[in-house]
Symmetry: D3
């Protein structure tokens, strides 16, 4: 679905929540295969027993990629992703955990150089089935202003 959302349309404090998704063993195995990160924390059940968590955990980049992907519903031709700040891996994600993403509009700023653009900061929280935030970050969205 495509829908133009302009700088002026974003309201500070507004919140949207994604649907949920269970992180499976498949997701972890596929992410290892995509990234080449086969560290035993993610892929070796026996090794994982010896760690503080006691079992295999999802890659940080997996939780981030799926957490962001869950928000990709509406194609906004009036904005593009500029980057992320303060990405933090707050808690572990285990096989069988179900996560969803909460997006809160946190800040709006004029673009320093381009008067036709603004920067919207979205606070992303990836939350598990117990309501615990497992990953947080700030998404910087470059948005066109209405003419």
């Amino acid at each position: 679905m495509e829908q133009a959302i302009y700088y002026e349309d974003y309201e500070i404090g507004s919140v949207r929540e994604s649907i949920g998704r269970t992180i499976t063993e498949t997701d972890i195995v596929m992410h290892a295969g995509q990234t080449g990160d086969f560290f035993p924390h993610h892929l070796d059940k026996e090794f994982a027993k010896t760690t503080a968590f006691g079992k295999r955990i999802a890659h940080g980049t997996l939780t981030f990629s799926i957490g962001v992907g869950l928000t990709a519903n509406v194609i906004n031709p009036a904005a593009f992703s500029y980057g992320y700040d303060r990405l933090r891996f707050i808690g572990p994600v285990f096989i069988g955990d179900t996560i969803h993403t909460k997006v809160t509009i946190k800040e709006k700023k004029d673009h320093k150089k381009n008067p036709d653009m603004g920067v919207v900061t979205e606070a992303l929280e990836v939350i598990n089935q117990d309501g615990r935030v497992v990953l947080a970050c700030e998404h910087l969205l470059m948005c066109e202003k209405k003419k």
Copy 2:
């Protein structure tokens, strides 16, 4: 390969570079499948022709995940990943581009609360076959100090 690298072992200014990897159409299709982000910028050749880039581009989370994955060679039991700062998507990655990651030790700081730990900041640059930086970020590594 497992090797303990302590806070004291990291030298500011030291640099390591990963091997390279060509980003394929397969990587993009699999990343869409992993994240659920099927935006036409990544998956629709006809749509992509109408964009500024003129062709399909890799997801930001894909370049980030592979860029980080390329650095996952040595398992360091004396450190863990705390998060990332200033992640920026600087240039597009197209199908057939070959990227590698350059890691520079940028900063070292004592941990604010835990005297046995320090925070090492690694500057990551993902660089394509033309020497262009396409993604940059700072990796925060929590490291044990030697006793």
Copy 3:
């Protein structure tokens, strides 16, 4: 996105069109891997040269699965899929073709046994980059009526 759409909400003749997606070699290889159908029409470039099409074609079940998947945007808790009629493979889909799906509400009927339900028939057309219909079918949707 979840949104309840009831039997009464469907209007005969109304049309929606999905975004597009390029069918890649990856999609065909992965579909062979998922279904176990490794017929050379799909996976053997040399064999394909000897066929009427002259090149590898997508599996019918692949075009159907992606064509249907492209319409899966809104979760409707007031309806479920009952089945498909008159599924026809009208034209070949080649590697690099870009398809999208057009859905037309074609018919509405009371459920024969359950007065609280109705059956909505959606005509699905999967269309390639040249505007050619490559697959058509009718989707039967069991819908709740408003109370």
Copy 4:
């Protein structure tokens, strides 16, 4: 294995059964990734608990694709797939269920326009480990006649 089977070779009432295959969580995750259908009925364990089925179910297009794929043993150069009729999702397929496909030759008809061809209707039933039919459809096979 290639073997020419002509219109005359099909006998009404003859039956063949495929080998079995267990539908895994991997299959469902991969099918979501292939089709872009990440509906929580298939991928969200917590959501699934709130549905009538109580657990995640396979996509209809997955059961259909694998059910059909299980029959793809013999390459018949004298026939091609024309389409499917009366495809019905009769029962749920859960993670861990094992399905196989039973094919019964149901009907034979001359082609309306081409005297050298005939249409064979195969009734496909996808059956789970308890003997329950979970999907049924009719496959239309365009077959050459012997000269």
Copy 5:
């Protein structure tokens, strides 16, 4: 398809050939992801230009796995795979090459300890579209004797 083939049924010198399959970039990327072997010979187009082959080559284990897989048509309940001898990577397999496997019954021997069993040696040759053997090995098949 299941069919019991006993020790006595194998004839020295008899030959069967599999269907063909084109080795795609997808196959190589997926095999890297399955095995964790991301060596630049397979995945880095720029590196590959500097090698004797000049382009990316398939992993030896990929050619072996697909070469063997191509022969997996008939389930023989009267035999099982004991191992392989003299596996040799004779020539490179490039993206886009099409391979098939030729199996020749080479030798038959009584089992040293079990009088009810025999060992059949199959010579496997994986052959590309130019008729060149790219991989060869000997497959040891433990077979039941007829009673």
Copy 6:
């Protein structure tokens, strides 16, 4: 990591062990999809109950491919893989088993024709979580001699 290791550098009797990896249902499903080997020994839970092992087992080519892949850490520009001898499937690998690979330098020989090369034989053992060898083979490595 790239490091030149010459013929003279290999010491008979020296041993290295890889990290571990748990073989998952995902690995088996993906390997079936890669190779086209959908034999019920690997993919049909109900069939597997009727076999001597009582449950699904990994493909031999999967255990071999992963077992070899686990050793692919250091890119050695002074050597290449010539082949494998005496590959034996010694014990079953079940879903959830964790394997690692032990490599022992077993033999060194001058190359018969090329005085600048030598052949190093590495004994590979793939070992499960109970210390049981499940696969063994000998790897022939063609190595340059120092000048």
